[in-house]
Subunit: 225 residues, 2 copies
């Protein structure tokens, strides 16, 4: 198994919450599960620590990082900036074909909205945001966007919405698609910011931060893998 694959697999385990935020990462068990020795596992953990998904505790191993409200706010703030930039660039560079794909994803999303299928709605939603970032044609931007969004993925795409919020979000997405089709970079940038600001408010209101009560320096629970 290649280094990058080890990183991906562990990242998936963390994002799925299989090792919940704050839980200690059991090297031994993970090694057994991935059928690798501790050396490549630990290399991957250091990389994930640099990404912010893992917290390293000197002489005490590593745990799944947990986000405070402040972390969440900071991450959404940067995400807004990145999506705003992506929106502007995308309007300059997006192809007609890409616009077609995004329009199709939007239509599918609207369909799931009408069916009240939040899971599928979020799936399309995420695809749209990622497609806009991809359309910016800047791999560096894609990389940063992925690392930032990975950390807020669960909050962003799991938090339930009130019916009002959901209707507003869909409405905003119509404006997003519209701005993209008109290649109105400034407009797209602006609506994306507003859209993400609303999402952030929802998430923080829902208290999605991953900090539990209690001393964060205390020995964390051990995740069973």
């Amino acid at each position: 198994m290649l280094h990058e694959e080890v990183v991906s697999r562990i990242r998936a385990i963390l994002l799925d919450g299989e090792i919940p935020p704050g839980a200690r990462i059991p090297e031994r068990d993970l090694c057994e599960r991935l059928q690798i020795s501790r050396t490549p596992l630990r290399e991957a953990l250091k990389v994930l620590a640099a990404e912010g998904l893992v917290q390293l505790l000197p002489n005490r191993g590593s745990r799944a990082a947990r986000l405070t409200d402040k972390d969440m706010r900071d991450l959404f703030e940067v995400c807004q900036g990145l999506e705003a930039l992506a929106g502007e660039l995308a309007c300059e560079r997006v192809t007609e074909e890409e616009i077609g794909e995004i329009a199709a994803a939007h239509a599918a999303m609207a369909h799931h909205y009408r069916n009240g299928d939040l899971i599928q709605y979020y799936r399309c939603n995420r695809a749209i945001h990622e497609a806009i970032v991809a359309a910016a044609g800047n791999p560096v931007l894609v990389g940063l966007y992925n690392s930032v969004t990975a950390r807020i993925r669960r909050a962003r795409y799991v938090t339930p919405m009130t019916s009002d919020r959901w209707a507003l979000a869909l409405h905003e997405h119509e404006a997003i698609l519209n701005a993209l089709q008109r290649r109105d970079g400034v407009g797209l940038s602006h609506i994306l910011r507003t859209h993400l600001r609303h999402k952030r408010e929802e998430v923080l209101q829902a208290g999605f931060a991953e900090t539990e009560s209690g001393d964060p320096t205390m020995p964390p629970d051990r995740a069973r893998v």
Copy 2:
């Protein structure tokens, strides 16, 4: 030596160009120099690879990453977005004390400009940009900014300027300081973008990209450490 320190030391070696872009990284020699074994060295290299400073070649070790023109353009583009965001946030959050420090750095920079001291000018210049990002009060933003700017540091802060360009840059910096003092987020954001666009043009014009002629898949020179 702590893991993070190993990463920092190797990062410094790469940024100093001591191992030039494209050169193979000699694990053995670096181990000897840092007085560590290959295990922690390789952990650090994987982290630096994730940062984009090192390129991993399966079964063929790692080399110092080299930037193409496209990489340079992409990095500057993202850097513009990050500084623009930082500028906006900084105007909301910067303290009077921080403004004072930035004003002082600006004065020092202007002094070095008048003396024609490019090295010292760039030192102050970089301090100002970093102070604005710091004033945004968003550690996530600082982290991304550092990783992006690390990769373009040499291009950004080494490229010589024509007298016209230099005069323009100083003039832009006056506008930057002014916008910050007026806490004009939109204005600061805008001038920072313009300023960085100019810098990018300079760098690309100077042909600072790190791609050498020849097949990039060929065995690279080995750096002597």
